[in-house]
């Protein structure tokens, strides 16, 4: 069973990374959106495998069911067959990817260092039951310890909603 979960993780991880790469490289925006959905689902699976069922559900409902629908919506609104024929990468793509890879290398180095000196990464993971029952814990944390950030986040959403309406509407 542990083997199964491990397998699951690597499957999801591979799926996520591959589809992420496709997101970046796909020529058609719809395709990259679909790949992004796949990546998100894989991430959701990893959440599940990380004992975060609530986040799993939230990921699927919000990201997959909400945000991505929005994306696809917009992609369909703005016709892209023109954009598809254009050059997809800008002039700085080579330098940019090199720099990004350099950043990745540095972060890898950081990981290596941390592990090497027995940082937090080398600790044994906490007991599986520590995060159960997940939803209740999240709810308590959200509404007890982090209620103020929660409200602020709701305000942020409201503002974003109004802003989106104002911008996208032809005439207010």
């Amino acid at each position: 069973m542990a083997a199964g979960t491990t397998l699951l993780f690597y499957f999801f991880a591979a799926l996520a990374v591959l589809s992420a790469i496709f997101v970046v490289t796909a020529r058609n925006a719809v395709h990259s959106a679909i790949f992004l959905i796949t990546a998100l689902l894989a991430t959701a699976g990893i959440y599940l495998q990380l004992q975060a069922e609530f986040l799993f559900a939230v990921q699927i409902i919000l990201y997959v069911g909400g945000i991505m629908v929005l994306f696809i919506f917009v992609i369909m609104l703005v016709n892209l067959d023109v954009a598809m024929r254009q050059e997809q990468f800008n002039r700085q793509w080579l330098a940019a990817s090199l720099i990004a890879l350099a950043l990745g290398a540095q972060l890898l180095f950081a990981f290596w260092l941390v592990r090497h000196q027995g940082g937090v990464l080398s600790h044994a993971p906490a007991a599986a039951a520590a995060l159960q029952p997940n939803t209740e814990l999240v709810a308590q944390g959200l509404f007890r310890d982090y209620v103020l950030p929660f409200e602020i986040a709701s305000i942020l959403l409201l503002v974003a909603m109004i802003g989106a309406v104002v911008m996208a509407k032809r005439r207010i």
């Binding site: 069973m1 959905i37 599940l48 559900a57 939230v58 699927i60 409902i61 909400g66 696809i72 369909m76």
Partner: protein, 442 residues
Amino acid sequence: MNFSSDIFHAYVFPILFAVIIVLLLPLLAGYIVLLERKVMADMQARLGPMRVGPHGLLQPIADAVKLLIKEDIIPESADKTIFWLAPVLSVTAAMLAYAAIPFGPVFQIADLNIGLLFILGISAMGIYGIVLGGWASNSHYSLLGALRSAAQLVSYETAGGLALISVLLVGGSLSMRSLVEAQERGGFWFIFLVPVGFFIYLVASIAETNRAPFDLPEAESELVAGYMTEYSGFRWALYFLGEYANMIVVAAIATTLFLGGWLRPLASFQAHLPGTSIELLDLVPALLFLGVAGYCFSLTRKQPVKIQEAVMALFGFICLALAGVLALPLIPRFAGLMPGIHGAFWFLAKVVAYLYVFLWLRFTFPRYRFDQLMRLGWHFLIPLSLVNVLGVGVAVVLHQQAGWGLGAALMVTTVATLLVAAWLAVADERHATAPASMAGGE
């Protein structure tokens, strides 16, 4: 997921059950179609399908065969992959949802502790089937239909989800099973506790499944067949299957959350068969199927053709067998099977009843205009559901902190919510002249 040590319960049984569902679902969908046509015919004072099989009882199979052997056309300018992917997506989404639906205390693939959220999320992914299909077929009808349905689903998901949340507040859990158990404990189905929530969810579920009177994405008069215009044959069948599977899913959700799941109606009614420990109400399922079987046999003689008679008789025997299965737990030796079998029966009965309401509404109401649809969603249902959630929350607080009876508190808040609903309706009427502000994708 809660990990069980028992290998059977963890792996074998769920997989088995899942296979059964996947196999049965098309058949079920087909017969729901038949039911629909029959009901429609009945309401319109005609006979409906009568040829294929007695009373058209074999019509679904005929349709399925026809669809499977039809030529499958892919438009030239379509995006092949996605065109191929879309129907599969919608069906997959629909079927995944069954994983968390409890067909009775036993028949459940997995009792997720976030079951409801899981179902919501998975069914939400059904949108992609529609949207991508509409986009991929590269036709205006399809695209417009897809955008319409996307807008419609997104806007009604909100209302429906909020309605469900009002139930969750009362039930205090996300797992379907524990929700049903809460109703069992409480002795009240939540439909009686949160009627407003049930109403909202009814409307929202109709809209989510693109059924009349909200079937704009496939409004023949405007968009030919909406997002399915370019589809034919097997893919079209998949869409069809997905749609009906979705209907069953929402019906199942409604059943579980509002109608007490597998619970027997009048659970507290105790009347034993004299001399035995058998409750009278437990006889009802068996007797029902016995009656149906008798009806079938009575019809057998009237069939014009031999083969028809044979099929009729076959159906009679099937009903007889079902009656036997349902009667089995009445025997004290097999009393252990009672909850599973009868729960499944009651659950399916309720589902069918809910679906019957769907059909009924479909044949009763004219189709909405798109702006009307959006206005109903955004100007009426969503505010109402928000108010409803608020009211239920207040009631729960009163129940837990102030020690009110839950029923009483909910009654008060429900009345308040209904007043708000009336006010909203009036305001919406006054607003109706203005053009719809959320005209979706157009």
